[in-house]
């Protein structure tokens, strides 16, 4: 019997949540031996090699958009109208090299994945699964009406990356519940190996006996390191004895976002207590420096960084603005209303001040992530959706 051919469309192959998860998914499906797999990404990146170990792989290149430099030059000379057709042509050329798909899996509701799907233009008889990792900012602000409508109209089935995404899709976008399955994000829990606290803190330049709260991710507006810094400043006023350090891992300190975070730390009088470590291929190693993992994001579907922190046995504090809140409600940490900085500070302080409680909540987080968010569990959930969709389409 011929193995079904599944074509994955991704926005990129960089070391961020959805591309990392796609790597786990492709590897997991390939390991079953039951699928023929192709991965097409709009942007290349370090994960392409990992994808290539399990699937035929291609990408449009390293630019943020196809023919990036040519497109910029065309815009400079006023030939803006020629850019979209040129880019569409390059997408069509790439996607049509792939053998006909039995199922198209769109990993993320983003402009690049929408454009790839439009270019691939699979026949109506070919089912499409849309995996939504985005919340309101991503769906309403980053995706225009045309692309959003096309993605949701074309999808035969939708996978929500967390309960928060599912609630938004049903309540905010009117998606029928029977078209939706929640498959929470997952990580390879066996691969999480934090350094010992002494080594991790030495790497980050933090005293070994300090209390440390921190996070992992791009230090951008959505992840909002400023909010964590404001919370810690507030914490120092209400619990001066705790005087924690703040560690942010990810992004680039010299970038505009990195400099903004450093400026905020300086304004808040935290410059000597704030450490920003640039992106690491193994951010889990520096989780060993933390006592509490903080997720100050305005919204985040279910960041892998938080799952890795849970797998490392760290208690979590977050705003009730995304999927991690569900994890905390099950015992992995504390959730407070957005944007209540004082409450966030209070939740962090309560954990920092009580080592036994930190250990108890951290152990609960670890157990939850290992049982519910390990890649073996996560891949099996998605595989069930893929198989059911293929079966419904008679493939």
């Amino acid at each position: 019997m011929t193995r079904p051919h599944v074509v994955f469309l991704g926005h990129g192959a960089e070391l961020t949540g959805p591309p990392i998860l796609l790597g786990h998914l492709v590897a997991g499906l390939a390991a079953t031996g039951g699928y023929d797999l192709t991965v097409i990404t709009a942007r290349s990146g370090p994960l392409l090699d990992q994808y290539a170990a399990s699937a035929r792989t291609s990408s449009l290149g390293p630019s943020r958009e196809p023919f990036g430099r040519t497109s910029a030059a065309l815009r400079r000379i006023g030939a803006e109208r020629t850019v979209a057709p040129l880019q569409d042509w390059s997408r069509r050329r790439l996607t049509r090299k792939a053998p006909p798909a039995d199922l198209v899996y769109v990993n993320g509701a983003t402009p690049p994945t929408a454009d790839l799907l439009r270019a691939l233009d699979p026949p109506r008889s070919t089912p499409v699964v849309l995996h939504v990792h985005e919340l309101d900012i991503g769906l309403r602000l980053n995706l225009d009406d045309d692309r959003r409508r096309m993605l949701f109209d074309r999808a035969d089935h939708v996978i929500a990356a967390s309960g928060a995404v599912a609630r938004l899709l049903v309540g905010g976008h009117g998606l029928a519940e029977d078209r939706l399955t929640t498959c929470p994000e997952f990580v390879d829990t066996a691969a999480i190996h934090p350094l010992a606290p002494e080594a991790a803190r030495a790497t980050a330049g933090i005293p070994v006996d300090a209390l440390v709260v921190g996070s992992v991710g791009l230090p951008d507006w959505r992840k909002d390191p400023d909010h964590l810094l404001r919370a810690v400043q507030h914490l120092r006023t209400i619990h001066p004895a705790l005087d924690p350090w703040v560690l942010w891992v990810g992004g680039e300190p010299a970038s505009a976002d990195g400099r903004r975070a450093a400026d905020e730390a300086r304004r808040l009088g935290l410059a000597d207590r704030f450490r920003h470590v640039a992106h690491q291929d193994r951010p889990d190693r520096l989780l060993g420096a933390l006592d509490v993992f903080a997720l100050p994001a305005r919204e985040d579907a279910l960041p892998l960084a938080a799952l890795e922190a849970g797998a490392a046995g760290l208690p979590i504090v977050c705003f009730r603005t995304g999927g991690v809140a569900d994890l905390c409600d099950l015992g992995a940490g504390t959730t407070v209303a957005y944007p209540d900085t004082a409450a966030f500070a209070g939740a962090v302080a309560a954990l920092l001040a009580n080592p036994a409680e930190r250990a108890r909540v951290g152990a609960a987080a670890q157990a939850l992530v290992r049982s519910q968010h390990d890649s073996a569990v996560g891949v099996a959930r998605i595989q069930a959706v893929v198989d059911a969709t293929l079966e419904a389409a008679g493939r």
Partner: protein
């Protein structure tokens, strides 16, 4: 805007002015009416620029030098903003005298200038600070001797003195709303996102008040507002917060409000606050930068950065006790009239910086 107002106010008799700009902008035409202007382009930011952009920089520097090659006999160079010191090496000869007008606070100077540029700035013969916070920063953080600093308070054109507040419908605000206004370009430093959070905090703490928050300086579709607009949606504050395009009639637009707030993360001395004071509004800002010169002791309130709840509480008091806001507004207006007149600033600048340079015009024929 500062440079434009300064050029308008200075006695330019017997002087030849050349303005070298790192970039153009909407004021270019007005500047060209007052002086010869050359736009040479921004220096590359080596920390974030792509390799190709960095590689192109030497050629760009050569082009800038060629553009300024005839400026080889400069009596006085006035560097307007510390950042602009980076244009100094592009002059063919050092000027006989260098005066730097510093508008930035700590992050704007020590944090943004590289070591050579900072050294060039500190080698200035004199400095002008428009507010005490910048003077203190120069002295305390950068080690500039006090006698090298002229503190000349910022000013704005005082006319028209009589106000004609616009109708609130222009701001899409009801007559019975408590109208909180801000005015600034919508960059992150000025805090349009914090303005949105302030509106949400005010409504959370005092839901009984009909709040209307209006930021003058950018329309709702301005891409620089993307973050603030996303926050507005997340916080459900769309009905309370609006962004309004810039207006040439700023003072009368501000005068339609009940209170002025500027939630800048960092601001040496926002001239919009002077405009608001001249419009008779009480002023509410964070206790950072130099705005305290205008606000304290009785022209409004300063709260610690970033305490938005405290800001919301001040606004609620001003709503509940109108006499407090009107007395604060009157005090702010009096101080703005007394201390922050652009004509006074230009006269003092002339005396401190241009002294000895004015030459009698050569008789024609």
């Amino acid at each position: 805007m500062y440079l434009l107002e300064l050029l308008r106010g200075l006695d330019r008799s017997g002087l030849r002015f050349t303005v070298v700009l790192l970039r153009g902008g909407e004021l270019l035409g007005e500047l060209q009416d007052l002086a010869e202007v050359r736009v040479v382009g921004e220096p590359v930011d080596t920390a974030v620029a792509r390799p190709q952009r960095r590689a192109e920089e030497p050629a760009r520097v050569r082009a800038r030098r060629a553009q300024l090659a005839d400026l080889d006999d400069v009596d006085l160079a006035i560097v307007n903003t510390a950042w602009s010191i980076q244009a100094l090496p592009w002059l063919p000869e050092p000027p006989r005298r260098l005066v730097s007008v510093v508008h930035e606070l700590g992050a704007g100077v020590a944090g943004l200038l590289d070591r050579p540029a900072l050294a060039a700035l500190l080698a200035s013969d004199g400095f002008v600070a428009g507010c005490s916070a910048v003077a203190a920063m120069l002295e305390d953080d950068l080690g500039v001797a006090a006698h090298r600093i002229d503190l000349i308070p910022y000013g704005v054109a005082q006319r028209p003195v009589d106000l004609a507040p616009v109708d609130r419908t222009q701001l899409d605000a009801a007559d019975d709303a408590f109208l909180v206004v801000a005015a600034a370009v919508p960059d992150r430093r000025k805090g349009p996102d914090l303005f949105v959070h302030l509106a949400a905090a005010a409504r959370r703490r005092r839901p009984d008040i009909a709040w209307a928050f209006r930021w003058i300086g950018a329309a709702d579709d301005d891409p620089r507002l993307a973050d603030a607009l996303a926050d507005r949606a997340l916080l459900g504050a769309g009905d309370a917060v609006r962004f309004v395009p810039p207006t040439p009639d700023l003072r009368n637009v501000l005068a339609a409000g009940d209170a002025f707030v500027l939630p800048s993360r960092e601001d040496a001395f926002p001239l919009a606050a002077v405009e608001a004071a001249l419009a008779g509004l009480p002023l509410l800002c964070f206790a950072s930068g130099g705005i305290g010169d205008l606000v304290e002791p009785d022209g409004g309130a300063l709260v610690p950065y970033p305490d938005l709840d405290a800001m919301a509480d001040v606004l609620a008091v001003w709503h509940d006790v109108p006499a407090t806001r009107s007395s604060a507004g009157a005090a702010a207006r009096d101080r703005a009239r007394r201390n922050h007149d652009a004509a006074d600033h230009a006269r003092a600048f002339d005396a401190a910086v241009l002294r000895g340079l004015h030459r009698p015009p050569v008789p024609s024929g």
